[in-house]
Symmetry: C2
Subunit: 400 residues, 2 copies
């Protein structure tokens, strides 16, 4: 018997299950391993020997799970310690692997999970254990190094772009429309907020302003831009990352969200509400609405990007082949060959290159005033997100 186990870790995405089903399907085809176990709730569940034999799944079930958001195997927020600090745990884990004839471990997750891959493969090498450890990347935040883009990101970006377009149309039906703020995820990196810039109506970008964690928030410049646009057309559409921060690195949400309501009480909230407070206090207008896209960004499978879904699947297939070919301590990744026509190449990198690093938005993707994304940068985003719906209205607003 020669089996393998795959598990998921960290926040869910729309396509992380596609990666797992990619690996399972490829193994059904090539029979590299006798059994593919699902380790439920990541390392946490594997330590409890919570394993499910996925060979029992029918073709139809595989197809359904591939098209299911969240984390079909359950997830965990468990960070495996270094061997020196947690010897018993490593011993227990490898006893469980041995008891179930597990010769390969696959972990679908973000940079913490790739750190687990790095630690376990190093341990196995040091102890002459013949096992392969392969990572499969995922994160809606797109903040993983080396890989061109993380699976999960394209679908979240698509959800954001479509939601910006649709809420933009909704926000401008009156003759006096006020200001609309959409808050996206992305605590450290602005990739998700930047995706909001993809939404266009009649050839013009819906988002007048896009705020990223990478560009320190300058209240004066921000208010002056908001005021100018509001005076021009009575409407401003703002996309803001939850991670917008001040020059000293503190989160805007943690400082400016404590504005006071009419009773003299403080008002808490995220970056969107902080911006709302700043705008209303400035006297520009009291008509400010905030939309927090929340967890739907990572779970709205009904808007999954086709490219994202298929790439996630292939990265799972490729992970199996990497283990079969004797690789360990590696992550299945892709690099981009061309924007148009869009083309990627599947390859691998050491888990240490991804573990515990963060990929920020490069500042050359940001416009000079720091409050939007360059048109050139859109070439990076467009193929990941796919074609957006085309809408049309008759009223004059967009001509202003």
């Amino acid at each position: 018997m020669k089996n393998c186990v795959i598990a998921q870790s960290g926040g869910p995405t729309s396509v992380i299950n596609s990666s797992v089903m990619g690996l399972l399907s490829k193994n059904n085809e090539l029979k590299v391993y006798d059994k593919v176990y699902a380790g439920l709730n990541g390392i946490e569940g594997i330590l409890k020997e919570d394993l499910v034999d996925m060979n029992l799944l029918t073709e139809e079930e595989i197809e359904t799970i591939k098209h299911t958001p969240s984390a079909a195997l359950g997830s965990c927020r468990y960070k495996l310690k270094e061997y020196e600090d947690s010897k018993e745990e490593y011993k227990k884990l490898f006893e469980i692997f041995a008891r179930h004839d597990i010769k390969a471990f696959f972990y679908a997750g973000g940079n913490d999970s790739q750190d687990t891959v790095r630690k376990l493969s190093a341990y196995a090498k040091d102890h002459n254990i013949d096992m392969n450890f392969i990572g499969i990347p995922k994160t809606v935040d797109n903040d993983l190094q080396v890989i061109d883009h993380a699976p999960g990101f394209g679908s979240a970006a698509r959800y954001i772009a479509v939601s910006v377009l649709e809420s933009y149309l909704d926000s401008m039906v009156y003759t006096n429309n006020g200001i609309f703020i959409t808050e996206t995820m992305g605590r450290d990196a602005g990739w998700l907020a930047a995706s909001g810039a993809l939404a266009t109506y009649n050839g013009r970008r819906c988002a007048d302003i896009v705020l990223l964690p990478e560009v320190p928030f300058d209240e004066e410049k921000f208010l002056s831009k908001v005021r100018k646009i509001y005076e021009e057309k009575g409407h401003v559409y703002i996309v803001a990352s939850e991670g917008v921060r001040l020059a000293d690195g503190s989160f805007l949400a943690a400082t400016k969200a404590h504005a006071h309501d009419s009773f003299g009480h403080a008002q808490l909230g995220g970056a969107g509400n902080a911006l709302k407070n700043i705008i209303t206090e400035s006297g520009i207008t009291k008509r400010v609405k905030v939309l927090e896209l929340s967890t739907l960004q990572r779970s709205a499978f009904h808007l999954a990007s086709e490219v994202d879904l298929e790439e996630a699947f292939k990265l799972g297939e490729r992970a199996l082949l990497l283990a079969r070919d004797g690789e360990t301590g590696k992550v299945s990744i892709l690099v981009r060959k061309s924007d148009e026509p869009y083309e990627v190449e599947y390859t691998a990198t050491d888990a240490s290159n991804i573990a515990n690093h963060v990929k920020y938005m490069p500042l050359d993707m940001v416009t000079e005033d720091g409050m939007n994304i360059t048109e050139e940068a859109m070439k990076y985003f467009r193929p990941l997100v796919g074609k957006l719906p085309e809408y049309r209205v008759i009223h004059h607003f967009h001509e202003k």
Copy 2:
């Protein structure tokens, strides 16, 4: 020359443009009127003579506008006064109608708009003006009398049901998941919140609790139910209408949202945040997340219900026929003949039957404890929303 004008009023929906395009297409076919004018921004724009000739639209443009959310003609929040209080305005409006040979006025909107239809048709009759005034219903809230359901509702309900399903799957991937609250629109009537009950996973309803404006909120009963479910499975999914209110009629959001944060400051918010405060103060758990679906409920065309889109179109077509047949002061409506197979009949009612009335959820649709919707009631909702995605996960959560 014999022309007509159509305008939109009130909050946008995903399918209000379908009604306008239904009327336009039918007129293109039957040539009842020489020109179909769009009155931009409702009555407010018509009073400024802001008219656009829609006969210039191509078939392709009509198709695109039919599939566009928001209000393609622009909207207004303008409530026309009684004739006695606003004689000049009535005079001006009818002068504009006369100047453009307008013989029929169509108004797509909620109960305020149908009140405008009622007032204008009464004025025309009293002054021997040969014009037809016909209303086309719309509202995501579904709170219009007489009509079986309002166009716009099915699409909003579909958006809510899918969002509940997807955020439910996202909210239960860990072994300890906390409590998730989704807040829907519906200030007076619970139809939208009730739609959240349509979301099921593995044959079981996702929403453990559904709170409606029609059932006075009982904090003690609510907390006792939340506690029981949380102890059983470490997870509770709650759908709450923004209009949840106390026995004295005051909004929960206005009273209980003023809970205090760790700095002793009050925290403002909607019904969802009020419930979060109540739960965290009770000591059940601090892990409570709130999702406010906001304006995407009425603008997420990408999840429009097919039935809703087609019914809205037909109600527009039928409005034209009602005017052609000499009716005035009427609203184009539908009544339901059967749930399964789903069948409706198109008819008309006096605008006065819809104007200024509210259709609440009947209490026999609510479960005995007042905190969910009966299975029997789902027969009303299902055909309006259509088939929901079928998802599947492997982890054990749903077996608990």
